[in-house]
Amino acid sequence: MDWLNILNLTGGELIGAYTAAYVLCALGLAMHFGFTGLLNFGQAAFAALGAYGYAIATLTFGWNMWGSVAFGLICSAAFAVVLGIPTLRLRADYLAIVTIAAAQALRFAFATSAYDKVTGGANGLSQFGEDFYSYNPIPEGRYPLGALDFSEKEIWIRIVGWSLVAIAAVVMLVLTRSPWGRVLKGIREDEDAARALGKNVFAYKIQSLVIGGSIASLGGMLFVMSSQTNQPQTWGTNFTFMIWTVLLLGGAATILGPIVGGMTFFALLMFTQGILEGLVNMGWLPFLDIAQVGQIRFLLVGLVLMLLVIFRPQGIFGNKKELQFNG
């Protein structure tokens, strides 16, 4: 087994652009669930709106990067408001049902051929990153990092991705430690108590949904920017559940949790894949072939998610007493 290669690939995941994208989505979900108690099972939709918003603004409207980012953010904010207005007055479980359904519906809307001039239909969109990469100050070439080797574009997207993570983390830290964040936590604990103290619970929930959704939409943009392809099947329910796993792994009511949770999760995923592939190649797992290893990994994701909720609901970083998985 090529241990060095496995370790290198694992280390690469720690700083990967996809990892950063998932971390952003998980930070947004921490705002929703960890700090406000909103059960959002449609985080993939917020990310998808960021990705499609950006791509459509660039390809269809011909906007530059900044305009496209703004459009992606507006799309996800609008989605938050449209979802929130009818559901946030209802019990928590309604939001869960509506978000999961709305995310599915949105994905089908993106995939349908009816709007394929704009959305690209089932094929999705590609080649919308020119303006983004035009900002890249790093000269063309190959850059070795340990045993890994990155192109200038790969380095650029990682720098931007993790800078976004840092900015989002600082913003969330400031927000959650402010009196505004205290109101969110109050709502998470008991929204009627918050109302009885004069807090406009509905307005706070909408704000939380919009902000967490915006952070996730940045994650979505980042996600599609490394390959410059945006396909509708990316944004399925499994995307949402990966985010939940990352969040619960790290700790839902923390900021560091989603970050370290995301890094740990993807490193572990790569590590298991490497080991499983090694074992398959050595003939130790005769019931598996290499192609199946990728799927087995996700079986493990489900298992990890279940074990987490059962045995360590507060995550790696969660305070033992603060936030259990209690919606």
Binding site: S178, P179, W180, A193, A194, R195, L197
Partner: protein, 285 residues
């Protein structure tokens, strides 16, 4: 007998000299059950009013309706010059009418101190944009923390200020909820069974707090089953039974009222209310 609170003789639904809250024709039905059916009710300003009545009389439902946590089938009510029918609960609270809940709602995973700070209503840092600019709310935060500490001391919760509210006993949570309600200097506090589950050693000082509220100009309306307490601190007593106001008046008079004894006690009709063990009384209902 003459009193300074009602206009003329006390009677169910009688007018008050200076009411802070006036409710008219408030009804609430749950399916076929009429939980509340109050024709006219006035709460006197600056006084301590007890709302009593057997379990299921509609006291909690009345609280829910008045504070916007439930919608009545009919009715309107005016609080301190504001028409409140249809006004959402948080706005009711912002107008200075703060309630507590029969089933305590401590915010378990917030510290005791944060519970208290949340009771404040004027914190500029609670608005989204201002929350980013610490100087805009830092001094206010300091002020309300001092106020919170003072209240916590009064309620003997100061030793617990850094603990999660989840770590408090049931009685302490009741105290916390009450202290938290006072953070915004409400004009009217509505306490739903504030003494239930509170350590008897604390009830005496709690009674003093409630009296102290009155001295500082706050109107108090509370639901309570303990007749000794009702006698001890209330200036006025309103009795509900089966959703209706069946009697009201100064405590000494109300306790003698045959309608009250009848509604409240049934089998214990011959004994004086103040002498009855309330648990026995409940069994009789």
């Amino acid at each position: 007998m003459a009193n300074q609170i009602s206009v003329g003789e006390p009677a169910p639904g009688c007018k008050k000299v200076d009411p802070i809250l006036v409710a008219k024709n408030v009804t609430r039905q749950f399916g076929g059950l009429t939980a509340v059916n109050v024709e006219h009710l006035e709460i006197p300003r600056g006084q301590i009013t007890a709302l009593i009545g057997p379990n299921g009389a509609g006291k909690t439902t009345m609280f829910n309706l008045l504070t916007g946590f439930d919608k009545p089938n009919t009715g309107e009510w005016v609080f301190n010059g504001h028409n409140l029918a249809g006004v959402p609960s948080y706005k009711v609270a912002r107008l200075g009418m703060i309630r507590t809940f029969q089933l305590t709602k401590a915010l378990s995973l917030l510290t005791v101190l944060d519970n208290m700070r949340l009771g404040d209503q004027k914190n500029p840092g609670e608005s989204f944009l201002a929350s980013f600019v610490r100087p805009l709310w830092k001094s206010h935060e300091k002020k309300i923390t001092a106020k919170a500490d003072e209240l916590l001391k009064r309620f003997k919760l100061d030793a617990k200020r850094e603990d999660y509210a989840a770590a408090l006993s049931g009685g302490q949570r009741k105290l916390l909820e009450m202290a938290r309600a006072l953070m915004s200097d409400p004009k009217l506090v509505m306490l739903d069974e504030p003494m239930a589950g509170v350590n008897p050693a604390l009830t005496q000082s709690l009674l003093e707090h409630i009296k102290g509220l009155k001295d500082s100009g706050t109107t108090v309306l509370f639901v309570e089953h303990d007749m000794h307490m009702v006698r001890h601190i209330s200036d006025w007593v309103i009795v509900m039974a089966e959703g209706k106001v069946v009697a009201e008046g100064p405590p000494a008079e109300v306790m003698k009222n045959p309608a009250v004894i009848d509604a409240y006690l049934g089998a214990h009709a011959n004994s004086d209310l103040g002498d009855v063990n309330i648990d026995d009384a409940k069994e009789g209902i």
